[in-house]
């Protein structure tokens, strides 16, 4: 048989092959030890030299062709096999994955952490103080003696005549100053309590106290620190204003407002038509407070501020009822 005939009969036999096994048999039939091509190649030795040359070239060419065809078909069949295997193993990929759905972060904790991180980035450390506090730290040392009308600003839970639930995080100022020499720079996040419950007040809420005392701290520094914070926690373009107010432990004192984030200052229900929302209280630490812990008020000055976290969270996430924070309804928590 000549090379051309072999090639033709091989192609005829290759065409119907459907399995890797059949293909292997075909390979043996042509290229095996006793295969058709192998036999023809063996015969070459018996030919006269002049024929041997051209017949040999033709047979080699045919062998290369057959090998290539076999390899190509093998790949095809493997591919086909795999596809069938995949098809038979297919699953419904739209079914849900198996995992424990992660719990959610409480919105108050979320803003507390965010606020803490902002102040930590500005170099403030984090301090903590007791929630059940001596009257001395909560009031007296903050320039609020007994029979001071400012005590009415904060409805107080009493445990005994001298022990209260802290009404603000400010007592931490005094505790830290008693422990550390100036300069000091810290925040104190935590729970505070007021004997008050209605649609806009809960008997417990969260504050972050901020405090910085050194030999050169001014009201302009307070303004910049709070503006930086409010721009980070809300947005860089939110307007911030400071207006005079009163706290017994700061002087000068300020209330800080931000431009209403709902109406953008045109006036709405949330801002009571004013375009501004009161967001925190602040001021320069009162010299009496410094003197009471032995800081020399002629050398040191500083600022303090207290931020209500519920208020921040309500504005940030458009929450209209403060009581939602303490129901722990998963339909609420699940949104954060």
């Amino acid at each position: 048989m000549g090379g051309g005939d072999i090639r033709e009969s091989f192609l005829n036999e290759l065409a119907p092959v459907k399995t890797i096994g059949d293909l292997e048999q075909l390979r043996v039939r042509y290229l095996g030890k006793k295969g058709i091509l192998t036999a023809e190649l063996k015969k070459l030795g018996g030919l006269p030299p002049e024929e041997r040359r051209s017949a040999g070239a033709l047979l080699n060419e045919t062998k290369i062709f057959v090998e290539a065809e076999l390899a190509a078909r093998k790949e095809e069949l493997k591919e086909l096999d795999l596809r069938e295997k995949f098809a038979s193993q297919a699953i419904d990929v739209t079914l849900p994955g198996k995992y424990t759905p992660p719990g959610r972060t409480h919105p108050i904790i979320r803003v507390m952490r965010e606020a803490t991180s902002i102040f930590v980035a500005m170099g403030f450390s984090v301090e903590e103080g007791p929630e059940v506090e001596l009257d001395y730290y909560n009031f007296e040392a903050l320039n609020i003696p007994k029979e001071h009308p400012a005590r009415e600003m904060q409805d107080t839970f009493y445990v005994s005549p001298d022990i209260v639930l802290r009404t603000h995080t400010s007592p931490v100022q005094v505790r830290v100053m008693q422990r550390k020499k100036p300069p000091v720079k810290f925040i104190a996040p935590g729970k505070v309590y007021r004997c008050d419950a209605d649609i806009s007040h809960t008997p417990m809420f969260h504050q972050i106290e901020g405090f910085m005392v050194a030999d050169d701290i001014s009201f302009s520094h307070l303004k910049a620190v709070l503006e930086s914070f409010l721009h980070r926690i809300f947005s860089p373009d939110v307007p911030v204003r400071f207006r005079p107010s009163y706290f017994p432990f700061t002087e000068p004192s300020a209330e800080v407002d931000i431009g209403c984030i709902f109406c953008k200052g045109t006036g709405c229900r949330t801002c009571k038509g004013t375009g501004w929302i009161e967001i925190l209280g602040a001021g320069m630490v009162h010299p009496h407070v410094l003197q009471m812990v032995g800081y020399d008020a002629r050398i040191y000055s500083g600022f303090a501020f207290g931020i209500g976290m519920e208020r921040i969270a309500m504005l940030k996430y458009s929450i209209d009822d403060i009581r939602l924070f303490f129901e722990n309804d998963l339909r609420f928590l699940g949104q954060f």
């Binding site: 719990g103 108050i108 001071h148 009201f219 002087e251």
Partner: protein, 692 residues
């Protein structure tokens, strides 16, 4: 403080709208909270801070507005320094005033007005009183209230003819008088230290707070003794608080009244009475033993600017203070010397002057400059980092963060069946709780979480996992602050019927798994769980966490009895846990020390044994790990079976044991010998048999 704009305009023409006025006041420290329409007038509702007693009047607001706008004041009385009208003194035979405690009453003055006709006051006055939140009574009382609102000084009118013996004595009630019947008809026991006004027979008024019923001005009253005085703020507040009695008068006295305005207030009221009730001013009395002396405050302009971070000219500071009624000038030493007016008792020192300058100059004009300070590597601190980590691990285990009030219902302690000596019974008690259910501080977080679970179940939520990190409060003794240990507590309930991927584990193991995940994350290896004795947990499905050799918490199924007491009716098991985070924080190991990973392969053997139901897996594991063979690297339990294939009361547990040598490859033959020995000894130890 409610100020009708029309009334204000009688004192000043600010030249701006009511809205503009409101803005100016707000930006200088008198926050206008609302503008309320009242007939054809607008009432400014002003939040006057406790330091600004001088602004508790129309005059006070007008004064402030005059400083802010530069518009002049129209006063209804002669300006300070002008010669006061001459009124003949009241004859001592009619009223003799004696101040026995000049510390608590520094001035006591009065006017006698005779032949008045007491009756309803005029309509215009009644409307103004009502606009300010006061009730009209009669023309005499209305005038005292009108002048109180207008000038800020409280006045009191006595029926002159009911004052006994022509005497007025100002003294504390101690040891002399026991009680007084006040104008509101209530007989009150006089608290210690209360200052009273008495006549020859007894108390006729609670000084600065409320008049007595016995000398009240009534329709029959013809002759009036009109009182104006200055009482010491703390004493007034103390008495008012002790009696639970507050009035417009006490509100002003306890914040500090203007001692110098007293004659003007009396004359203003007397002339209004003459005008509205007829009668004639007959005489005056003024006992003023402790004269007002303004403090002199010295400070330097550059100090003000340093504190504010501003560059305000010294002349501007002087101008601001003088406009505010201070006597301010440059002192010879180059400082500013400033004396506040008599109505600014809140101004005591440099800081107050700095605030006055800043708020009139305008906070908005002070630049905003970030401070420079030393760098600090403190960061949030280990505790804050730890708390964040714990929250994150719990969320990964499916627990959402809860935040509850720190209060606890006393009944919760009963519901939890805590014995009398349990530390959780040592709760801090509030003297003035909002409600009985919130009268204790939490000693455990569990009751709050049970409440949260109930809330969510009642709203149709099926699978609930909540965790709370919070301080609880343990009372030590009455004088000391309580302990405030930090707890992590969790609660969970699973309803699996609708869950797609079924998970057959007992709920207990899910809760325990969450605790173990936390301990793994914290790398706390020295730990084990032992059956718990917590009275509110299922005794067969609860365990205490023992870490670092002590109990650090518990995890378990809430006992059906406790659940029922908390009015939880679910048939599914509720799991809870509560851990001492302070203790766990103390158990955090030092940073890991790297050990080379094993170079040689391990050989595994599985082993299933049938044992009595009470045999604990942890005991078997411990036995295997402690077995005297250096090659046993690890052992884990991987299967538990009870059912028809093992005898009743018994269970089959399967363990995987891993053998490895550190310096060479073990052979199957040598392990065969060791493993056979282990199996034999283990069966003896547990009294079990190999599972066929």
């Amino acid at each position: 403080m409610r100020v009708p704009f029309g009334w204000l305009q009688e004192f000043i023409n600010p030249g701006i709208s009511v809205e503009g006025t409101a803005h100016l006041l707000t930006m200088s420290g008198l926050e206008v909270e609302a503008l309320e329409t009242d007939g054809d007038d607008v009432v400014l509702v002003i939040n006057v801070t406790p330091n600004r007693a001088d602004c508790l009047s129309v005059l006070g607001i007008a004064r402030e507005l005059s400083v802010l706008t530069g518009a002049p004041l129209n006063l209804p009385f002669p300006p300070a320094g002008a010669k006061p009208p001459v009124i003949k003194p009241v004859p001592a035979s009619e009223i003799a005033v004696e101040i026995r405690n000049t510390g608590l009453c520094r001035r006591y003055a009065g006017r006698v007005i005779k032949n008045t006709r007491t009756g309803p006051g005029p309509e215009w006055m009644a409307r103004r009183l009502e606009a300010c939140g006061l009730r009209p009574i009669n023309n005499i009382v209305d005038v005292t209230n009108y002048v109180l609102l207008e000038l800020g000084h409280p006045l009191h009118a006595f029926d002159l003819n009911t004052l006994k013996g022509g005497r007025i004595v100002v003294d504390t009630a101690d040891n002399v008088y026991q009680k007084i019947k006040t104008l509101d008809g209530v007989e009150r026991k006089l608290p210690a230290g209360a200052l009273v006004i008495a006549d020859a027979e007894g108390p006729v008024a609670l000084a600065g707070i409320m008049g007595g019923a016995n000398t009240e001005v009534e329709d029959s009253t013809r002759d009036i003794f009109l009182e104006a005085a200055w009482f010491e703020p703390r004493n007034i507040r103390k008495t008012a608080r002790a009696l639970g009695l507050a009035s417009e008068s006490s509100y002003r006295f306890e914040r500090g009244a203007d001692i110098e305005i007293i004659p003007a207030a009396l004359d203003r009221a007397a002339s209004l009475m003459e005008e509205l009730a007829g009668g004639a001013l007959e005489g005056a009395v003024d006992v003023y033993p402790v004269k007002y002396r303004a403090p002199s405050i010295e400070f330097r302009a550059d100090r003000v600017n340093k504190l504010l971070g501003a560059e305000i000219e010294e002349d501007e500071m002087l101008r601001i203070l003088n406009r505010l009624g201070f006597a301010a000038e440059k002192s010879p030493g180059g400082a500013i010397s400033a004396s506040p007016p008599s109505y600014r008792l809140d101004v005591e020192g440099e800081a107050d002057c700095v605030e006055e300058v800043a708020r009139i100059h305008g906070y908005d004009k002070i630049p905003s400059v970030l401070p420079c300070s030393r760098l600090s590597a403190d960061g949030a601190g280990a505790r804050e980092d730890f708390i964040r980590l714990v929250g994150g691990v719990m969320r990964k285990s499916g627990y959402s963060e809860a935040v509850n009030y720190s209060f606890m219902n006393p009944r919760a302690l009963e519901n939890l069946a805590l014995p009398p000596n349990d530390f959780r019974r040592s709760a801090v008690v509030l003297l003035n709780p909002l409600k009985q259910e919130e009268s204790l501080l939490r000693t455990t977080v569990i009751p709050s979480l049970i409440e949260n679970l109930r809330h969510n179940r009642e709203r149709g939520l099926k699978n609930i996992r909540l965790a709370e990190t919070a301080k609880v409060f343990i009372r030590t003794n009455e004088e000391q602050l309580p302990l405030e240990p930090l707890k992590l507590a969790g609660i969970a309930i699973e309803q699996r019927t609708h869950s797609f991927w079924r998970d057959a584990a007992e709920d207990f193991y899910l809760a325990k798994g969450a605790v173990e995940a936390l301990l793994d994350e914290l790398r706390i290896k020295d730990r084990h769980f032992a059956p718990s004795g917590e009275p509110f947990l299922h005794p067969g499905k609860s365990a205490d966490l023992i870490a670092g050799g002590r109990k650090c918490g518990y995890v378990g199924v809430l006992s059906p009895a406790a659940a029922e007491k908390f009015e939880i009716r679910d048939k599914e098991e509720i799991t809870v846990f509560e851990l001492d985070l302070d203790v766990l924080l103390g158990l955090l190991p030092p940073p890991p020390v790297y050990k080379p990973v094993p170079k040689f392969p391990y050989i595994e053997r599985d082993l299933a044994i049938v044992v009595e139901g009470g045999v604990k897996a942890a005991d078997v594991i411990r036995y295997i790990k402690n077995y005297p063979s250096e090659f046993i690297e690890d052992a884990v339990v991987f299967d538990l079976y009870t059912g028809e294939k093992v005898p009743a009361g018994k269970k089959s547990m399967a363990f995987n044991i891993r053998y490895r040598a550190s310096g060479r490859t073990l052979t199957e033959d040598e392990i065969e010998v060791i493993h056979a020995g282990l199996v034999k000894d283990l069966l003896t130890h547990t009294g079990g048999s190999l599972r066929q």
